[in-house]
Structure formats: structure tokens, C-alpha cells
């Protein structure tokens, strides 16, 4: 889509409009959640995913015929976003139910597709645009993604016990606003929010940052490719480690590591080598939320309520992701009131966002430790405490829970 700006003179539009397209596609994917969940429940997994495949195909195909920016907004923004929602949300919700101890590894492997797919698609699109032009490149992408999505629709199935939709299962699937009243869900939402901001800001600024420190565009695209490679390779490793060391533990450690890399590697990066190192490391650590949110959520609310809570959290992320890219533009390019090449503001922003994310996960971990200790105290203690439930909101925030080294 960026190539339209470069190559087609009739599609000039402001940065804001292009940024809105990007934000729109992700946010529409998240906004589609209630519709998608209902469709999943009523018409089943495969018809829902086939609908998503169709929407994505239509969106990419029509993007190849657009002549006005508003048409591009509709096609690549909204239609693609809805298609993505119909495909991604049921798939992500179904996968954790297939695994117990290997859950994080499987989810890590599955989400590494975004990094590797981004890498392959960017290389292919680059080559295609050079040889056949933007419009045909869109059609090529449309057809390859159609083929792969159809294959995925055929392969993905739900686990047998879950397919029979009884009334209790429907209740677990319901998107509840009351879920936000539970502090652990609010913490997960907070974590998602800040890391989304950081992630999108990072994603956006990294390409142009290369140009700002004097590197050639080729070197910039290599840095980008390494970033995606880091995304693709880091997530399975993260998943495997999460199974071994505890899901919430690893989510916290890796989010903090990303903040650390931002502060230590990105801000002083003035040369090609350091930037490459940062790209790979940041790629491996920054996409933590999407990679670990499903196993962490299962840890937090349990398998039964997972689908509903997942949907709720996705809906809570709609507004942030719509405007995250616009925020990223403002932070990255307009430091000091005018456009500069100084990315320090963006770097600090991203670093602090990930730091805030790590803090929220730390608090979530503290809650979970409290929960686990509550379980370990056994049924007899719970039978004794008939009168007063522990104060829900703050009783778990004790230092001994904050610093306990458990496998959560």
C-alpha cells in the first residue's frame, strides 16, 4: 500500500490517511469480535473462516483496482480488517484448547507466522512491484493468500468435546462487560494496551529510523527483514520457554527485556551493526502480547471462560489500535513541534510503553501467585472462611506475592 504513494500519482493522500488505513485494518479486526464470536457459535468454525477468507480475497483484489483514496480505505482498511477478524479470532480461540503442557509452544509456533509471513510477503511484494507493478502485485497476494487460507480452513478443527455447544459453553463464550471488573482481566487489558502502542510505534519508526541515521534504503529494508525474522523465530522459542518456566513469568521477563533493549540498544544506535542487532532482538521480544496472550489468559480465567474473555479483551483494544499508528507518527516524526529526524522521543516512548507493560504483567503475576497460594491452602481453609471473602481488589498486592519465584 505504501507503493501507491510512491508510484501512483493519482493516489496522493496525507500521511494521516495512510496511517488510518493501517490502524483501521487491525482495529476492524478487533471490532468484528462480537459478530465473529456469534457467527462461530451459530454457524460453526469452518463457515466463519471461509467467510474471512472470502473477505480478505475480495479486499486485496479490489485494492488492485482502486483509483481514489477513500476506496483504498474501504477495501484495504475495513474489508481486510473484517476478513482478518473472521479468520484470526476463531483460529486463535480454538488453538489453545488442543494443548495443555505444550500450549505456549504451539501458540508461539502459530503466531510466528506473522513474522515469517511478513518477511516473505514483503520480499515477494517488493519483487512483484518491481516487475509487474503495484496492481498485479495486489492480485498475486490475493491469490496466494486465498490458497493458503483455504488450506488452513480445511485443516483447522475444534476439539471434539467442545464442538457440542451446550448452554454452559455458550455462557463461557459470552463477551461480558463485567469481566473488566475483575482486576486480572483489567491488568491483561492494560498490558495489551501499552504493548500495542509500543509495538506499533516500534514497527512504524524502525524503517524510517534507518534513514535518519544515514543508512541506505537497502540497509533499512534489511533491518526490517531482520525484525520480522526475529518475530518469526523468537515466538516459538518464547513459547517453548513459557511452557518450561511459566507463562506469566516469561511474558513478564520478555516484555521487560524489550524495554531494556529499547533503552540500551536503540537509543545509542548510530551504526548499521547495532541497528541490526536491535532489530533482531526487538523483533524477538516486542510481539510478546500476541504470542502469549492466549496461554496467559487461559491461566488467568480458565479454559471455559477463555473464549468470551478473549473477545472482550480484543474489543477493549479496538480504540488504541485504531489510533496507535497516528500516535506513532506524532511521536516519531513531530518531536519539538516540527518534523525532525530525531527519533529519541519515539525511542523513549516505546521503551516506557514496554516497561509499563512489564509492570502490569508483574502485577498480574502477583495476582496469580495469590490465586495459586489460595488453592494450595486447601479445601479446609476455604470451608473455615465462610464469612468474609478476602478483599478482592488489593489483598493480593503483598510483597511476598510480588517477589515469589514460582512457575506461574
Amino acid at each position: 500500500m505504501a507503493y501507491y504513494k510512491l508510484n501512483d500519482t493519482e493516489l496522493q493522500a496525507s500521511y494521516f490517511q495512510y496511517a488510518i488505513i493501517g490502524g483501521l485494518s487491525i482495529s476492524q479486526a478487533l471490532t468484528a469480535t462480537p459478530v465473529v464470536t456469534m457467527s462461530h457459535r451459530k454457524i460453526g468454525l469452518q463457515p466463519t473462516m471461509l467467510l474471512g477468507t472470502l473477505l480478505i480475497f475480495v479486499s486485496l483484489l479490489t485494492s488492485s483496482f482502486v483509483t481514489q483514496i477513500w476506496q483504498l480505505i474501504l477495501s484495504q482498511g475495513m474489508c481486510f480488517g473484517w476478513g482478518m477478524g473472521f479468520l484470526y479470532i476463531p483460529a486463535t480461540a480454538v488453538l489453545p484448547s488442543w494443548f495443555s503442557t505444550h500450549r505456549s509452544l504451539a501458540v508461539g509456533l502459530a503466531t510466528s507466522g506473522s513474522g515469517l509471513g511478513g518477511l516473505v510477503y514483503s520480499v515477494v511484494t517488493n519483487a512483484a512491484i518491481q516487475s509487474v507493478g503495484v496492481r498485479w502485485a495486489y492480485r498475486i497476494i490475493a491469490s496466494t493468500s486465498l490458497a493458503m487460507n483455504l488450506l488452513a480452513c480445511v485443516l483447522l478443527k475444534e476439539t471434539g468435546g467442545r464442538a457440542a455447544a451446550g448452554p454452559r459453553q455458550e455462557r463461557g463464550w459470552r463477551l461480558g462487560i463485567r469481566e473488566f471488573g475483575r482486576i486480572e482481566v483489567a491488568l491483561v487489558v492494560l498490558w495489551g494496551l501499552v504493548t500495542e502502542f509500543g509495538y506499533i510505534a516500534l514497527l512504524y519508526s524502525l524503517p524510517s529510523f534507518a534513514a535518519s541515521i544515514g543508512l541506505t534504503p537497502t540497509q533499512g529494508s534489511v533491518a526490517n527483514a531482520l525484525f520480522n525474522l526475529g518475530l518469526g523465530l523468537g515466538r516459538p522459542v518464547l513459547g517453548w520457554l513459557s511452557d518450561k518456566m511459566g507463562r506469566i513469568n516469561m511474558a513478564m521477563i520478555v516484555t521487560a527485556m524489550c524495554a531494556f533493549f529499547c533503552f540500551s540498544l536503540w537509543i545509542p544506535a548510530q551504526s548499521y551493526g547495532v541497528l541490526l542487532a536491535f532489530s533482531v532482538l526487538a523483533g524477538a521480544t516486542c510481539g510478546t502480547f500476541w504470542c502469549t496472550v492466549t496461554p496467559v489468559l487461559v491461566e488467568v480465567v480458565g479454559m471455559k471462560k477463555f473464549v468470551g474473555t478473549f473477545g472482550t479483551i480484543l474489543m477493549a483494544l479496538v480504540l488504541p489500535t485504531t489510533f496507535a499508528e497516528v500516535v506513532a507518527i506524532e511521536v516519531a516524526r513531530v518531536s519539538g513541534g516540527k518534523e525532525t529526524n530525531d527519533y529519541t522521543g519515539a525511542q523513549i516512548f516505546v521503551g516506557f510503553m514496554f516497561l509499563a507493560g512489564a509492570l502490569s504483567i508483574w502485577l498480574l503475576r502477583c495476582w496469580k501467585v495469590w490465586q495459586v497460594e489460595l488453592d494450595r491452602q486447601g479445601a479446609d481453609e476455604r470451608a473455615q472462611s465462610t464469612t468474609v471473602r478476602p478483599k478482592y481488589w488489593v489483598s493480593w498486592l503483598k510483597p511476598r506475592f510480588l517477589f515469589r519465584l514460582w512457575h506461574v
Binding site: S14, V94, S100, A110, G113, A152, R168
Partner: protein, 94 residues
């Protein structure tokens, strides 16, 4: 006879589920679905096992499902990410 019945109630699986999932105690129990009951021996203690979350397969066809989700991620988030490449233009007014 009475003693053995007491022993049974003390090691009732329902208590163990309450310990593991405190919130489940508030939500109530899921109804047992026929598929899950089919393989279990008809035993008083075991009937309530279906109230616990069904054991996931933890592998097998699950890895194929992971591959399917991998492909989906490639095509949704991957195509989405192409937007960011490569921002060689710096001045948006041109």
C-alpha cells in the same frame, strides 16, 4: 459400610476441582456431555470427573491445527505488515 461411604465423600473429586478453580465454584458446574461420559467407567467417583475441564489432547492433530493457524497468521498479519515496507520516502508533501 458407613465408614467406606465417608471415605468416598472425603476424597470426592468435586472437592479437588474446587481447590483448583476457585472461580468455578461460583459459576456452577458444566453439564456432562455424552461424549465425555462414554469412555469413563460407570463409577460414582468418576462421574463427576466430567465437571472438570476436559483433558486437551496435547498434541497429535493439534500440531496440524497449529500449522493451520500459522498459515492464517501469515496471511493476515503478514500481509498487514507489508504496509510498513520500506518507508524510503521521508517527506510526505512530495
Amino acid at each position: 459400610m458407613n465408614h467406606s461411604m465417608e471415605m468416598q465423600t472425603q476424597t470426592h473429586p468435586r472437592d479437588e476441582t474446587e481447590v483448583m478453580e476457585p472461580w468455578a465454584a461460583l459459576e456452577g458446574r458444566a453439564s456432562a456431555s455424552p461424549e465425555e461420559n462414554a469412555d469413563l467407567p460407570a463409577d460414582d467417583n468418576m462421574i463427576n470427573v466430567v465437571d472438570i475441564e476436559p483433558t486437551p489432547p496435547n498434541g497429535g492433530y493439534g500440531w496440524i491445527c497449529a500449522l493451520a493457524v500459522f498459515l492464517i497468521n501469515c496471511n493476515t498479519w503478514g500481509v498487514n505488515a507489508v504496509r510498513y515496507y520500506p518507508r524510503t520516502f521521508v517527506d510526505h508533501t512530495s
